[in-house]
């Protein structure tokens, strides 16, 4: 010990050893207290055991903006099994009562006992054997329940839908999967969880909080009463009711117009960012994804080549085409590249590149307002070229381009807006690095990428982003993040949805853009949308080139011009010219929005649209959603 005794702190070993001894003395005394001095624990264990009954809260209901009930609950029943208590069990009688055969019984039993599928399995606690009994089955079982020891019935609720609309928007609920079980301790096997749409994005609001009742049982499993007279029980807290900004009549009408067509309609109230209508076509009845046929119906939807399970309004990405031009005009004016008076010429196309991109016949040269009205391609190509080539303002094309991109980001393009729906896509707005890489040099110029000036090329946007941009013009420069839920009962909305997002571009500039869009309706490309003298509509058509097939038909707009009440975007996939399908649909939707009905004079248009079928015959996987692979395709 020679070396250690020189160590000045060697005595501290005694303190450490003392700590260990003391702790053990305390612990052994505690054991003595628990095991010898406290006979009540022995009694507890010998004669009583706990039965924890989970009390399921009612899932929150969903209402539309006018208070119409959309989604509510109906009671169903689950069969629970406590294997240890089953004893003498007449399996045949049990199967007959539940109307299942012996092999199904064995399969359900094996599923229940498989710890990989059911990590919480225990033969002592109630385990889910079979779910969603009908009322009749429940009645039969209830009568015979005394014959089946160890079998319990647990009340559950099932989602019911008042309207056969908005399947993909509302989403569906289903039993939790293993991932959710492992990542959130709230769930146990057999619980239901929102899997898509609002059911998923507002799961925490809708699900409420489970309660529990603790009962005491004797050794034979008979209930002896509440543990501590219910002092440890917890009542379930019902899920929160949600009120949507969506108007169900408008929504249903939108789905009706879009029947036999693929695409989307999004309508936003600019003053609040509330989504009043969000159609993703083809749509389906949410009721088919409840109850026993869930599996089969889900498979059908999943295999449908037109992909009804994808919410195109937020996850479909399309080249915005000419609907992109107003944003370009705003950026060029903000950066001082053009003024209200700046005129560019057009000879059926963009002269510096030999008339490409092509344009149609109209007066020339044009300034911004008529350029928007006639949707002149050349004007915006000149504008982009002037901006990217401006070496007084920007050091090089990279800087100019990134300034350009930053404005578009502030308008919500190329970024997730943050809508309260799952699987929102970002769209795509390239940055200078992207082109440096693709073009393999850094000194490229506007002419290399000219198609983005007219919303083609690499640019991709979701219908929601396009509608949101319409709302920005309607508000003359700001937006609220679009959202479907306008009210959570008893809780405020996330501040994300109650805060103005400014684009950094002045009111006066958007006033000019709005004028251009108003002229497009009164005397330009989207005259079909003209609702004067009642309402002054501002709009912009779009025909976006689709490398995979017929062009997509787009319409974007808002109304009325002053003090706007609604902004809209319509996309009909493969609908060709904007004016041929998207604008008429836009007109009808605005009619419905403002008048609640379609005037007789427009019935022919309604008939034409409803009877139009645009479903591509061969609709392969890649076509279902336009991906940002257009660049590769061109090469």
């Amino acid at each position: 010990m020679g070396y250690n005794s020189e160590n000045p702190y060697a005595k501290r070993k005694h303190i450490i050893a003392l700590i260990a001894v003391l702790v053990m003395v305390v612990y052994i005394s505690r054991l003595f207290y628990l095991q010898i001095l406290s006979p009540q624990y022995r009694e507890f264990a010998d004669s009583n055991a706990f039965l924890r009954k989970t009390l399921y809260p009612a899932r929150g209901a969903i209402y539309d903006r006018n208070g119409n009930l959309l989604v509510y609950n109906q009671a169903t029943y689950d069969v629970m099994m406590v294997v240890r208590e089953m004893g003498e069990f007449d399996t045949l009688d049990f199967c007959n009562t539940l109307n299942i055969d012996k092999s199904t019984y064995l399969m359900l039993e094996a599923d229940m006992k498989d710890r990989r599928k059911n990590p919480g399995y225990s033969s002592y606690t109630p385990q889910l054997f079979m779910s969603q009994l009908t009322v009749e089955q429940y009645g039969l079982l209830q009568e015979k329940l005394y014959k089946f020891p160890g079998i319990y019935v647990q009340n559950r609720t099932r989602r019911q839908y008042k309207y056969p609309n908005m399947g993909v928007i509302l989403g569906y609920i289903a039993e939790v999967d293993k991932n959710a079980l492992e990542s959130d301790p709230y769930y146990v096997r057999g619980d239901y969880i929102g899997k898509s749409g609002i059911e998923s994005s507002h799961e925490k609001d809708l699900r409420g909080e489970k309660g529990v009742e603790i009962w005491l049982r004797d050794a034979r499993g008979r209930l002896q009463g509440r543990y501590k007279d219910g002092a440890e029980d917890k009542a379930p807290v019902s899920g929160r009711d949600l009120t949507l900004g969506i108007d169900i009549d408008l929504q249903a009408y939108g789905e009706y117009l879009m029947q036999n067509k693929i695409g989307s309609i999004v309508m936003i109230e600019p003053k609040t960012g509330e989504i009043v209508c969000i159609v993703s076509s083809p749509s389906y009845d949410p009721a088919i994804l409840t109850g026993k046929d869930f599996g089969r119906n889900y498979l059908d939807l999943e295999r449908n080549p037109y992909k009804p399970l994808i919410n195109r309004a937020v996850a479909g990405m399309y080249p915005p085409g000419s609907t992109f031009k107003p944003s370009q005009g705003a950026v060029f004016m903000k950066e001082g590249i053009i003024t209200l008076e700046t005129r560019y010429s057009c000879f059926h196309g963009y002269p510096p590149l030999g008339g490409r991109p092509a344009c149609h016949g109209h007066a020339s040269p044009l300034s911004i307002v008529p350029a928007l009205a006639t949707s002149c391609n050349s004007f915006f190509c000149y504008g982009l070229s002037a901006m990217l080539g401006n070496r007084e303002k920007y050091a090089d094309v990279n800087e100019a381009f990134d300034v350009w991109k930053s404005y578009l980001s502030k308008m919500g393009y190329g970024e997730k807006l943050g809508v309260d729906l799952p699987s929102e896509k970002k769209g795509f707005i390239p940055n200078s690095k992207f082109y440096n890489k693709v073009l393999k040099r850094t000194n490229w110029n506007a002419h290399n990428i000219i198609s983005i000036a007219i919303g083609q090329g690499e640019i991709l946007a979701t219908p929601l982003q396009i509608a949101n941009f319409a709302a920005i013009v309607a508000n003359r420069g700001y937006y609220y993040v679009p959202h479907v839920v306008r009210e959570r009962k008893g809780a405020p909305l996330d501040t994300l949805y109650t805060r103005k997002h400014y684009t950094g571009i002045e009111h006066s500039i958007f006033e000019i853009i709005a004028q251009g869009m108003a002229n497009a309706v009164t005397g330009g490309t989207c005259r079909t949308a003209n609702l004067l003298p009642e309402i002054e509509v501002c709009g912009k058509t779009g025909t976006s080139q689709n490398p995979h097939g017929d062009d997509h038909s787009l319409f974007m707009g808002f109304a009325p011009k002053d003090n706007p009440r609604v902004a809209i975007a319509v996309i009909v996939e493969n609908g060709r010219f904007g004016a041929s399908n998207a604008v008429p649909i836009g007109r009808l939707m605005l009619q419905k929005f403002f008048n609640d009905s379609i005037p007789e004079t427009d019935k022919w248009l309604e008939n034409r649209i409803v009877n139009t079928t645009i479903l591509p015959h061969i609709y392969s996987r890649e076509l279902s959603i336009v991906d940002n692979d257009s660049l590769q395709n061109k090469k």
Binding site: N4, I16, A20, M24, I28, L34, S123, T125, E182, S183
Partner: protein, 485 residues
């Protein structure tokens, strides 16, 4: 060279006593896992790898191989590569945090094919090695500021990474290395301050719901504790009974005065009174400092004021900085909120299971309360329940005494090391085992908050068993060759 008998008998031998205790723990541990996961329906699947007890047998077998292999590695290896191990360990923790899937709310499992490993478990021996290496550096003095900082960061860095993985329990295990620092000369005062900080935090938060005037009940209790702790410190460092009497007497008279005033119908804000009481103590200490000019008084003042500031800032951090889910974790651990999966409920069940065991227990495999019945962690964190239920007070006490012998033996082994490296590592081993025992068994018998860390050698799980084996056998290897230096 002369060697006495004892030294000759020790030379080149592994400490057999410790190895035997290790083997006994493994056997008892496996029996407990077998009993805890035993189920009549599934009894047939004894040699099925999905069965927990069979799987545990695999872990035990591999651990024995590992232990044997560790004894074959040269001692110099650990000393030479201690820092390399450390860097690799930190790297692994970062990688784990980045790639690990979320399992039961934590991101600490590295999944490689069918194997799931928890790098945080292996970090225990790595930190112990790193500390041992640091202390054995030439002319190392712990109390130099630079060295102190370095030593603490060795412990803190992995602790932070593990907290990020939501394995707070394991991070607390790293904190147990403070005991090593204590043995190597960290002033007891610092340890006292740290313990005081924990007590303030726990009490301050736990009773923060009840408001009494300008302070909460928690703050009130803590203010009084600050006065008491200051008195203890003064008693220890100043050693003047009169001073201690004043420090305790002045606040007492403040309270008495307030109590008397309350008879005149004046509503007393007791929190404010406690603050005034603390103020008088601080003023008195300042007076002593200016009278005698001894620095020790200013340290005492710093302790009292620092304690108060710490108390107020924990309230702020807890309420305004922590995320709600982190707050709930702490609240559940402190027993303020019932986890709806029922951490509190589990402890209740666990106490019933232990209590029902009685003097001699119900017999092997005859426990009714345990066996995956009510407590899901029956064969991992709560395994001590099974032992106490089936083997009773006698069996449970024997296990505890065996553990005590184990710890004392390790302290003995650590003290007989001839090198600083060996001794520091040895105390690292002691600290980790002692901490696991205190927390795990304390939790099961209901006197410690529920912190999920395993019972060494008993709890089911490969990572923890390997981790403990590594920790122990590296030490036994160092011990075996302690005279070869």
């Amino acid at each position: 060279m002369y060697l006495n008998r004892e030294e000759i008998s020790d030379r080149g031998h592994v400490d057999r006593l410790t190895v035997w205790m290790y083997v006994i723990f493994l056997i008892l541990g496996w029996l407990s896992v077998y009993a805890a996961s035993y189920d009549i329906e599934n009894a047939a699947g004894l040699f099925d790898l999905s069965d927990r007890s069979t799987m545990q047998l695999v872990w035990i077998g591999t651990s024995l191989v590992l232990a044997f292999a560790l004894l074959k590695i040269d001692t110099g290896f650990y000393e030479t590569y201690a820092f390399v191990f450390y860097l690799a360990g930190i790297f692994l923790l970062i990688v784990t945090y980045l790639v690990a899937p979320e399992i039961n709310g934590s991101r600490s499992w590295l999944v490689v094919g069918p194997v799931r490993l928890q790098p945080a478990e292996f970090m225990k021996f790595i930190i112990a090695l790193a500390l041992a290496k640091v202390f054995s550096l030439y002319d190392f003095r712990l109390m130099k500021r630079k060295n102190l900082l370095f030593t603490f960061s060795i412990i803190l860095l992995p602790a932070i990474l593990v907290v990020l993985q939501s394995e707070t329990g394991t991070a607390l295990v790293y904190a147990s290395f403070l005991l090593v620092l204590f043995r190597e000369g960290l002033p007891g005062g610092i340890l006292f301050v740290l313990v005081a900080a924990i007590v303030y935090f726990v009490l301050g938060i736990k009773f923060s719901d009840t408001q009494m005037g300008m302070f909460s009940l928690g703050e009130f209790i803590t203010l009084i504790l600050i006065i008491l702790f200051t008195a203890v410190l003064v008693g220890n460092y100043v050693k003047r009974k009169k001073v201690v009497r004043v420090i305790l007497g002045a606040p007492a008279s403040v309270f008495l005065t307030a109590y008397l005033i309350s008879f005149f119908g004046v509503k007393i804000d007791w929190g404010l009174v406690a603050l005034i009481a603390l103020g008088t103590v601080i003023l008195y200490l300042l007076y002593l400092f200016f009278m005698y000019g001894k620095r020790v008084y200013i340290y005492m003042v710093a302790f009292a004021i620092g304690s108060f500031v710490f108390l107020e800032s924990t309230e702020y951090v807890f309420n305004d900085v922590l995320q709600p889910h982190q707050r709930i974790r702490i609240e559940v651990a402190l027993g303020m909120k019932q986890d709806f999966r029922g951490a509190g409920y589990h402890v209740g069940q666990s106490k019933i299971a232990i209590g029902s065991g009685g003097f001699l227990g119900k017999g092997f495999l005859k426990g009714t309360q345990t066996k995956l019945k009510y407590v899901p962690e029956q064969d991992t964190d709560f395994i001590f329940c099974t032992i106490a239920e089936e083997a009773g007070f006698v069996g449970a006490s024997i296990v505890l005494i065996l553990y005590l012998c184990f710890i004392l033996r390790l302290i003995y082994l650590a003290e007989r090391q001839t090198s600083t490296f060996g001794r520091v590592y040895g105390y690292g081993v002691v600290s980790v085992f002692l901490f696991h025992l205190i927390i795990n068994i304390g939790m099961v018998i209901g006197i410690m908050p529920v912190i999920g860390i395993p019972l060494p050698f008993f709890s089911y799980g490969g990572s923890s068993l390997w981790g403990f084996t590594l920790l122990l056998f590296i030490f036994l290897r160092l011990d075996k060759s302690r005279r070869n230096k």
